[in-house]
């Protein structure tokens, strides 16, 4: 197949790419772009997501081994696009009320999603790097898009500096990998992985590369930026960064280490990942207990969740990959839902972020309280919510890899985390309202919360719908 026709195999990417350019044109040409662009963005996201999930079994390598479509990539694309669509739905009223209502917001969201999709499909270190930069640069700007607020600028600057630092690690890693493997093609690296890994330089390069991405997934020793950035950035943006951004980084880790997962090669990073997973889970869960600010609490909880997913990387077998992907899907929708509720309650100047603002929420808005409780239960990992099965699959995979102690630490840490998740529920249902918070009606915001709530329930009650797709896709 020539490159001329190959490009049409990338229909979801093309739609989003053309969408970005069209959005720029819409933004320039009409004054009403702010009311057109969100719906246009959602339309292209839903199309790209649906196209990806329909063609999930159509696995192809394109552009001479540069790029892959279908398979795991399609599932990741589904997470990115549908997650971003929910976030845009949530952001429509949010960015109006925080007075940053301009169309560029949506263009940046589209660009960041395109970057994530390029990362997930990349079969070449070049592509990974360009996709990562596209995603990261859009995130830096999105984190600081509301310059009228100090915390926002602080978040953007911290995110940018530490993100650039992490990128430095990744580039050094790529240089060393290229120097020893003499190729940037991941297929070639994976093919001769067993031979390369004996080379200290290759191992160093791979370790640097992995550490760079551990920054992006916010695992323990590389988590310093997370609380401030997640708290400072606009709430829907935080939702996007913490879910789809994390999924994109995990997609790269899964691809680069795929030799370990599929060919039964000794996992050189097993101890590294196991230690990082343990520290992230315990640190995230324990520090989150002390947080009264809900966004900060969810930031620490996201460090803990990164830890649970890293268990899968430590286990290093095919079950763990499907576990991680299921976990990422579940986490994306439950976290987006939780941030969606926070965005509706926090008020026009982010003043109602404290847990006391949630006291007696049930009497004011039973729907929001119900969904918040659903997301908290899901994040805590209580069945039949999707979060439970995410943890379950990852723990089972780690037991299969003789890492039972890691699964026990995981269960222990989940038990700790129940405390701070259920604290929110207790405040909502069993405390009398102390503050007079007016919850503004936002149809789109509520719709976003309902959709993510339904997805969490569907993946929780019928986990096999998604899990069977993931396992069958991974088997070839």
């Amino acid at each position: 197949m020539t490159a001329n026709t190959e490009i049409f195999q990338l229909l979801p990417h093309l739609v989003i790419g053309v969408g970005i350019v069209l959005s720029v044109v819409i933004e320039i040409s009409t004054k009403k772009s702010e009311s057109i662009l969100p719906w246009f963005t959602i339309l292209i996201f839903v199309f790209a997501g649906a196209h990806s999930i329909i063609n999930v079994y159509d696995y192809q390598i394109l552009f001479g081994g540069m790029y892959a479509i279908g398979g795991v990539t399609a599932i990741f694309n589904f997470i990115f696009t549908i997650g971003a669509a929910i976030m845009v739905l949530n952001a429509v009223d949010y960015i109006k009320k925080s007075k940053m209502n301009f169309g560029e917001f949506y263009i940046l969201v589209q660009s960041s999603v395109l970057g994530m999709m390029l990362m997930a499909g990349a079969r070449d270190l070049f592509m990974i790097f360009i996709g990562l930069e596209l995603m990261s640069i859009c995130f830096y700007v999105l984190a600081g898009i509301n310059r009228s607020r100090m915390g926002n600028t602080e978040a953007a600057l911290k995110y940018f500096l530490l993100g650039a630092f992490a990128t430095g690690f990744i580039v050094f890693g790529i240089a060393l990998i290229y120097g020893t493997a003499k190729s940037t093609s991941i297929d070639q690296i994976v093919f001769a992985y067993e031979y390369f890994i004996t080379d200290v330089l290759f191992l160093t390069g791979l370790a640097l590369f992995v550490i760079g991405f551990l920054f992006k997934i916010a695992a323990f020793p590389f988590h310093m930026w997370v609380p401030d950035v997640y708290q400072g950035a606009a709430t829907p943006v935080t939702g996007l960064m913490s879910t789809t951004g994390k999924a994109a980084a995990f997609s790269v880790l899964i691809i680069i280490l795929s030799a370990v997962f599929t060919q039964n090669i000794t996992n050189n990073f097993e101890i590294l990942f196991a230690v990082i997973a343990t520290l992230s889970m315990l640190y995230g869960s324990i520090v989150a207990i002390a947080q009264d600010n809900l966004k900060r609490m969810l930031a620490y909880s996201s460090i803990a969740h990164a830890g649970y997913m890293t268990i899968g990387l430590a286990a290093g077998n095919i079950e763990s990959v499907s576990g991680i992907i299921f976990y990422l899907t579940a986490y994306a929708f439950m976290n987006l839902g939780a941030f969606g509720v926070i965005a509706l309650i926090e008020g026009s100047n982010e003043e109602n972020l404290d847990i006391n603002s949630y006291s007696g929420l049930n009497s004011k808005s039973p729907i929001l309280a119900g969904f918040m409780a659903l997301f908290m239960f899901a994040l805590a990992g209580i069945p039949p919510m999707a979060g439970f099965f995410g943890k379950y699959y990852v723990f089972v995979a780690s037991i299969k890899a003789d890492l039972t102690w890691l699964a026990i630490v995981g269960v222990f840490s989940s038990a700790i985390s129940v405390y701070f998740y259920l604290r929110v529920v207790v405040y909502m249902y069993f405390k009398d309202s102390t503050s007079s918070i007016i919850i503004k009606n936002s149809f789109t915001g509520l719709l976003a919360v309902i959709i993510s709530g339904l997805l969490v329930l569907v993946f929780g009650i019928l986990p096999d719908t998604l899990f069977s797709i993931i396992t069958s896709v991974l088997s070839y």
Partner: protein, 171 residues
């Protein structure tokens, strides 16, 4: 052949003179201008080595874009304080000399001791047109077409981001 040696001598001389001038000028703006001249001389040397693309990039990116940015920053900042710093912190000078000697030893080692690769001679480089823009363009539009397109979106995203962050007024 003779012409090549003459050109090499001239360009090399210009490169050396301008780099010495660069570090000895008291005014940073003058230093920057000498550095631009140095880049032009280096670009000429690259041309002699049949690396047209690097030569062009050297002029456009380094001499054109980066150094102009440098000059703007130097002119905007108050640069008189540089001498005071050097007088106060004498140790800085020694660190500078140390690093310079280190780099010099490295380059000396590469030139005199490490064997140059036999497989890539100048003739081979000429015959496969490795340094030509045409060759690089062909690769860019065939093997690397997808990263090339993606970098376009990266630049677009960065431009939009810069505009968003630099916009003065919020509604």
């Amino acid at each position: 052949m003779i012409l090549e040696y003459i050109l090499f001598a001239i360009l090399g001389l210009v490169a050396v003179v301008t780099s010495v001038a660069m570090i000895t000028r008291p005014s940073p703006v003058m230093s920057a201008i000498f550095l631009v001249l140095n880049f032009f001389a280096l670009a000429g040397l690259y041309l002699l080595l049949n690396a047209q693309f690097i030569a062009v990039v050297q002029v456009i990116v380094y001499a054109g874009a980066i150094m102009v940015l440098f000059l703007f920053v130097l002119m905007l900042l108050n640069t008189d304080s540089e001498h005071a710093i050097l007088k106060e912190k004498r140790k800085l000078k020694f660190i500078g000399i140390f690093i310079a000697v280190l780099v010099f030893i490295q380059i000396g080692y590469i030139v005199f001791y490490s064997a140059p690769s036999d497989s890539v001679t100048k003739e081979i480089a000429e015959s496969i047109n490795a340094g030509k823009i045409e060759t690089i363009g062909t690769e860019l539009y065939t093997t690397y077409v997808l990263p090339f397109l993606a970098s376009g979106f990266l630049l677009l995203g960065a431009t939009i981001g810069a505009i968003v962050l630099a916009m003065k007024k919020f509604e």
